[in-house]
């Protein structure tokens, strides 16, 4: 409460100096950004007090102080800070890749592939079917001809099945969880990042055949998809190799070096037209597995030390982008979709776990880690909006509302899964919640 009171005083202070400043300058964004960090930090602590993940607090702070509620961070300010957000996601991707060990991929690869395939196919089919059957309730499909309904239902489903590596990593860092449920969830989330590119490209290709695009946007060919994925693996492997060499022969200033890697990684990926997230994931994976014993771990520790502020920045800015009024207006449509998606993930994971012969904890809890969605889905929605400006905009709004719901509910569910499976570290935040009376049983 003390922090909340001081936050109000700080907000008053910033309002006091606003008339004296230079309007329209970038420094106003910095002023509000500093405030947003403190606000996210405070609300994150409050969230922990009520046994919610901190990132939900960061998101809520972003929503409250963002351009659509109190307006402390303006729309212009939020867009000016986009590079910070992109850098944060690049760092998170590198960190996520570095979490995977080659031995684990080799041993658990078939299990993860089976579970992921079942989950993605189930979710995709359920979401496509839902939109197709209930097209009359969806604004841009209500009176559309059959090919258009199929095309946009395909695109919607291909984007709505995406997961969030950022939320997964944030929760794993917060709870410092280790165990089969967290490893399976992380593995599926990372693998599905590759699969989703294929799904989406195929869906976009079919959509283009059914409904010729009215806007611009590049034509998606098989070769481009192959390059986007293969190129990302190649560029990521090269980047990882360079990082491993740096660790071996220089090995200094690792926290700063991690920021440089993320910055260069995303720039190189963008210029090479390969998938950014996958590039950084691969770079992290190669670095960790090629480096000598201890070298990769040092970098990982350096990145983990800087991870907490990165998560605050990323999720607070993500929250600032949520348009509350729009989400609220679409809730009657979004909640059934979110429920069907969650049900499909649950079914897919049960089927996948049975097929792969996974253990009881994975079968029971891993699906809860797959509900979250974040930046990747927004990126894919903007590609659709580029190709189909009119319908794409409505589709994008619906997807953003769905992402907002999943981004808020997902972390809460994943944290419950971590606590219930007993995988939170004894000194992690999740374990504290687990030790609280009634936490494990949910009472």
């Amino acid at each position: 409460m003390r922090r909340l009171f001081i936050l109000v005083l700080l907000l008053g202070g910033t309002q006091l100096i606003l008339p004296l400043g230079a309007q329209g300058q970038g420094s106003q964004a910095l002023l509000s950004f500093g405030f947003l960090i403190l606000a996210a930090y405070t609300v994150g602590e409050l969230a922990t007090a009520v046994r919610l993940p901190k990132i939900v607090g960061y998101l809520v702070a972003g929503v409250i102080f963002g351009p659509h509620v109190l307006g402390t961070v303006t729309l212009e300010g939020a867009s000016q800070l986009a590079p910070v957000s992109q850098l944060a996601i690049a760092l998170i991707a590198f960190l996520a890749g570095a979490e995977l060990r080659w031995g684990e991929v080799r041993d658990r690869g078939p299990l993860l592939l089976k579970m992921m395939s079942a989950e993605l196919v189930c979710s995709f089919a359920a979401l496509f079917g839902l939109l197709y059957v209930f097209r009359g309730f969806v604004p841009f499909l209500a009176d559309a001809p059959e090919p258009q309904v199929i095309a946009f239902a395909l695109l919607f489903a291909a984007i709505a099945i995406v997961h969030s590596p950022a939320v997964t990593m944030a929760l794993l860092t917060e709870t410092r969880a280790r165990g089969p449920v967290t490893r399976t969830t992380l593995g599926i989330v990372l693998l599905s990042d590759v699969a989703v590119v294929v799904f989406f490209s195929a869906a976009l290709g079919i959509a283009r055949m059914l409904v010729p695009p009215t806007g611009g946007g590049a034509v998606v060919s098989v070769g481009m998809v192959v390059w986007e994925i293969g190129g990302a693996l190649l560029v990521g492997a090269l980047l990882g190799g360079v990082v491993a060499l740096y660790l071996r022969y220089v090995g200094k200033d690792l926290a700063f070096f991690a920021i440089l890697v993320a910055f260069f990684g995303q720039e190189i990926a963008r210029l090479a037209h390969v998938e950014v997230l996958l590039t950084l994931l691969t770079a992290g994976f190669v670095t960790e597995n090629v480096s000598r014993e201890g070298e990769g771990v040092e970098l990982l520790h350096a990145m983990e030390r800087s991870a907490a502020p990165v998560f605050v920045v990323f999720f607070a800015l993500s929250g600032a982008k949520i348009e509350v009024q729009q989400v609220a207006a679409l809730l009657p449509l979004v909640i059934p979709i979110a429920l069907v998606r969650a049900g499909a993930i649950w079914t897919g994971m049960r089927l996948g776990a049975r097929w792969a012969g996974a253990g009881e904890p994975e079968r029971k809890y891993a699906w809860m880690g797959l509900i979250s969605q974040a930046g990747v889905a927004i990126g894919l929605a903007s590609i659709v909006a580029e190709a189909y400006p009119e319908q794409g905009a409505v589709l994008g709004t619906l997807l953003l509302a769905l992402i907002a719901v999943n981004e808020t509910v997902g972390p809460i569910l994943f944290r419950r899964a971590i606590v219930a499976s007993g995988e939170a570290a004894p000194d992690g935040e999740g374990a504290k919640a687990a030790r609280a009376p009634g936490a494990a049983t949910g009472h």
Partner: protein, 411 residues
């Protein structure tokens, strides 16, 4: 492969080569330098590859402001009253005299140079001259710390040098911040533009009120990652506020650092966080400094040379006079001011802060002079510190031997 990608790969290769080379030079010749990061910034900036274009520069501005503010907090965190009151008055007198003489000598000399070379009015010329005076006053503690660790000795010279670098930083920040309050463009849309005194009060007010509120905000927080988030937010808010008002972020954040380190129960943890983040942010500052550098359109060589010469003379001369007037020459030696020639992050921060201000004269020239001085002086700073500390150590040993032999003869 696109030309931009080739450029990025060249930049990465160039940076790695420069980093490895500077690392080797550092170990071999005791060179304390961040020159490779400046070079990286120049390579990334609009002068070469444009990887850091105007939009990217704007997007990463929070890091830049954070880096500027962090420099201020780090400087402020040195002023722990508990530790400062243990020192006698003489070292303070020496330090303040040296800092004041350097500021006055460089500001005066550069005013003359600018008036003569660019036919500027003295009232205009004094603005970039005082900015350069503030840059000149700043001294890097890195080389001194490195030498003290290497020699394993912390005698009176090392203590004097460490105190003097702190006082130099204080003087540089206060002088530069006051310069910006005096040379402040009136804001649009206000009933009456604040006077320079009012701007100075606002600047100090942000620091004092901010420091008090952040002290209460952080409370007894001891977890490093949480402190890091809180401190980053506080620094960004205070420095963002100052930058928004076109004031220097250095003074408010220095006050915040001083308040936190004197009032917080977790001062050791705060120092740990500051030390942990200081180096990466210093490199960010250097990269942005390199990227922001634009070759001065004016004849810059002569003013920069004069700046380097006058600064060197003022540091050595000021140090000599300070020691002489306080009867400290036998302990410190006549040329102890040589160890203060290293420039460090504060000089870059002041130069960059000046460059980012609107409507200030000779911004590129001041910034170029600061960068040249940082590159040239930081190469030699540890060597110079070693010569000063080494000779002081020898002198002390000789005095000890002489005292011992005197006692033996008496006996």
């Amino acid at each position: 492969m696109s030309s931009a990608l080739v450029l990025i790969l060249v930049v990465v290769g160039g940076y790695l080569a420069a980093h490895v080379a500077s690392d080797w030079l550092g170990r071999r010749f005791l060179v304390v330098s961040g020159a490779e990061y400046l070079l990286l910034g120049v390579l990334l900036g609009p002068q070469v590859s444009s990887v850091i274009g105007a939009d990217v520069f704007g997007g990463f501005a929070p890091f830049l402001t954070l880096a500027l503010g962090w420099v201020g907090v780090v400087v402020g965190a040195q002023f722990s009253l508990q530790e400062l009151v243990r020192l006698p008055a003489a070292p303070y007198r020496i330090a303040f005299l040296e800092a004041f003489l350097t500021l006055a000598a460089v500001s005066g000399a550069m005013t003359l140079v600018f008036t003569w070379m660019f036919r500027m009015e003295p009232a205009t010329a004094v603005v970039p001259a005082v900015a350069l005076g503030a840059v000149a006053t700043a001294s890097a503690p890195t080389g001194i710390g490195l030498v003290a660790r290497r020699l394993g000795w912390r005698g009176p010279v090392v203590k004097q040098l460490q105190l003097t670098t702190a006082i130099d930083a204080l003087m540089a920040i206060v002088a530069f911040s006051l310069l910006l309050t005096v040379n402040h463009a009136p804001p649009t849309g206000t009933v009456r533009p604040p006077t320079p005194t009012e701007w100075a009060v606002i600047s100090v007010g942000i620091g004092c009120v901010g420091g008090t509120l952040f002290h209460l905000f952080l409370g007894n927080e001891r977890k490093i990652d949480r402190l890091a988030i809180g401190l980053a937010g506080a620094t960004m808010l205070a420095s963002g506020g100052a930058a928004y008002l076109r004031l220097s972020p250095l003074l408010p954040t220095m006050l915040i650092g001083a308040i936190l380190v004197n009032t917080s129960g977790s001062r050791e943890e705060i120092r740990r966080v500051l030390a942990m983040v200081e180096r990466p942010l210093y490199f960010v500052l250097l990269i942005f400094a390199g990227a922001a550098w634009v070759p001065s359109t004016r004849a810059w060589l002569l003013p920069v040379l004069v700046f380097l010469v006058v600064r060197t003379g003022a540091k050595v001369g000021g140090g000599y006079l300070g020691a002489r007037f306080n009867d400290a020459l036998p302990t410190l030696g006549w040329g102890w001011g040589r160890a203060l020639l290293g420039q460090g992050g504060l000089a870059v921060a002041i130069g960059l802060n000046y460059l980012l201000q609107e409507e200030v004269p000779l911004a590129n020239l001041v910034f170029t002079a600061a960068l040249v001085s940082v590159i040239v002086m930081d190469v030699a700073s540890a060597r110079l510190a070693e010569s000063v500390v080494g000779s002081a150590r020898r002198r002390r040993a000789e005095l000890y031997v002489a005292a011992q032999s005197g006692r033996t003869e008496e006996a």
